[in-house]
Symmetry: none
Subunit: 416 residues, 2 copies
Amino acid sequence: MSAEIICVGTELLLGDILNSNAQFIAQQLAQLGIPHYYQTVVGDNPERLKQVLEIAISRAQILIFTGGLGPTPDDLTCETIADFFGVALVEHPEIIEDITQKFTQRGRVMTPSNRKQALIPQGAEILPNLTGTAPGIIWQPRSEITIFTFPGVPSEMHRMWEETAVPFLKSQGWGKEIIYSRSLKFWGIGESALAEKVAPYFNLPNPTVAPYAGKGEVRLRISAKAACEAAAEALILPIEKQIKEIAGLNYYGADHDTLASIVGQLLRTSKETLSVAESCTGGGLGQMLTEVSGSSDYFWGGVISYDNSVKVGLLGVNPEDLDKFGAVSAIVAEQMAVGVKTRLATTWGLSITGIAGPSGETDNKPVGLVYIGLAGPKDEVVSFEYRFGTMRGRALIRHVSASTALDLLRRQLLTR
Amino acid sequence: MSAEIICVGTELLLGDILNSNAQFIAQQLAQLGIPHYYQTVVGDNPERLKQVLEIAISRAQILIFTGGLGPTPDDLTCETIADFFGVALVEHPEIIEDITQKFTQRGRVMTPSNRKQALIPQGAEILPNLTGTAPGIIWQPRSEITIFTFPGVPSEMHRMWEETAVPFLKSQGWGKEIIYSRSLKFWGIGESALAEKVAPYFNLPNPTVAPYAGKGEVRLRISAKAACEAAAEALILPIEKQIKEIAGLNYYGADHDTLASIVGQLLRTSKETLSVAESCTGGGLGQMLTEVSGSSDYFWGGVISYDNSVKVGLLGVNPEDLDKFGAVSAIVAEQMAVGVKTRLATTWGLSITGIAGPSGETDNKPVGLVYIGLAGPKDEVVSFEYRFGTMRGRALIRHVSASTALDLLRRQLLTR
């Protein structure tokens, strides 16, 4: 028993919208333990839709359609499916009544084109749409095939899925084993280096372990198949523990954790405060820190010292050192960190100065060269040089710079 | 001649990631005038990938793969395609050299598992990856079939697409009628209000006009079908002009323009400078401004005054006013704007103070209440109160706050 997701809509083929419906249904199927191996996108074209149907019924038993249920002439999903199985459409007065009511509620009059939405294949059940006008169907045109149709509007689809499809799918007993996953997140180690360290785990049958790379970050996903969440959790836990031990400090958190939320937890525990001085990230580090609700408990603020005059005036960077070593240098990073920590009277001061590009590089200072400074509670100050590569682009260099600064502080807080 | 997009990755089937690659390629194909009728998603499974290939070559001539080019054992796209066509893989020393260099640049050593990425089907051309380690291929395993492979990481894929695939596809003369679009961007007007103003345009056959809502922003996409870009442009231009006139100041830019890039253009023209004082956005306004390369010409920096002590200490906000009116008030916003403008000696000072939530609201100050202050060249200062709604969530309130601040300055620069 497996499902296939079929998203219908020319707007998907034109790239006008992101296919978030496929992601939503995929997540839901995984949680229900119903495997699915294919997703297909096809336009509002009856012939091609029928070809897709032909392929889908040869490899899946549950077909989940989204899109093409609207009132306009190009919305053809329901009638095409009925036609494919040689079944007539029947008008349902209760749907017309429901649509009329919804129009009245919004102070409008139902248009004749909406009548089309009341046509359902003979023998199909109505999947009511609580928020919009287009109902879906649950239909078994053949004993081994179950078809669901949903409108393409994500908010309507989500509610219909949760309130009608989920109870139905659960009641069928199709989901044998649920898939439950945990994402472990790492910073400061490349995908291939981490993969080599944990290579034996990639051959496990259950739970499975697989790597994927994000924006400068590596994640390992541990996925367990089990009868219930608790059983899956029991399978995941020992593997998670072993991988964390192997990764050591390179592991920073799981699932919804971010570098900023983990740094925040550590600062809250130690009752310490933080300020930042940012040059090339221009506020991105502060932005990351304050994405965390409640960050005002430990983050006091900072200085965006984009222009050198701000480094001198607000942070007390020595103008002679600026001249001699340049704004992108270890000594300036350190003075920025000390300056912001002192002026904002925080426990820690974290600074970033670098060349995000694409312009600004000099003979001995390439794009991607970044210095991060950290001033600490005992008036100690350190700085580190990074070369994030000349080709990664401005946005990624800035993102990686801010993340690396947070990671540096995280490691300091964990190992002092 | 048509294309099919095939995205490979179990993470897509589990719903772990959104399939933004399919949308990107779909948009690009439309611009190139290459039709595509199907998109398929399949897991990292050689057998199912081969079945998908079999179907794809029966209905399309250009197959575009993303994903499964990584260094780990579950990355199987390239070898599975080669195997399907019965062609051997050949190791390319120049790829190994390229990967080694990239590792060296980042101060790391290439791992043995990366060697796998240098294996390319015999006869295929290398599609170089400028930012990551996984190269793609352009390959004609049969005279009528052209295959492209791209890594799944969107940033890598985009650059490879633009720099290698686009010139190749254009040179083949496959595109007949291109679809060319322009996105007009608006700030300060809702989707339905704008839609009502421009309603007649929604019925045009060519170019078509359609609205989209983004993060607090409304866009209108004008799309023309024509033989070439210049002909499409000629269809779009008069409609664009009319819509801009109707929208007035609510229109701010097109396509790659951002509020920050437009403000930057205006400041560069007037040879003026800007500094920011941020509370609830925590650096997000500075981050937006410095996303624009070259912003150091007019953006000098700012103060992230998250804690009240920073508002007083670094911005000179009056502590009595802070006590009396609270940090989220018009007077504090104004003092922040004046303070940062004075201390950083810039032409303009822009400030934000508000409640991003979910916590922090009081009886008369709900989540979403934001004050924006603007101090100008003649020592004038103004502030505006916004209520961005209690239900939109922390991230969106912060984004809308920073964008609205930029929009406020934009309007000021245009109308003074």
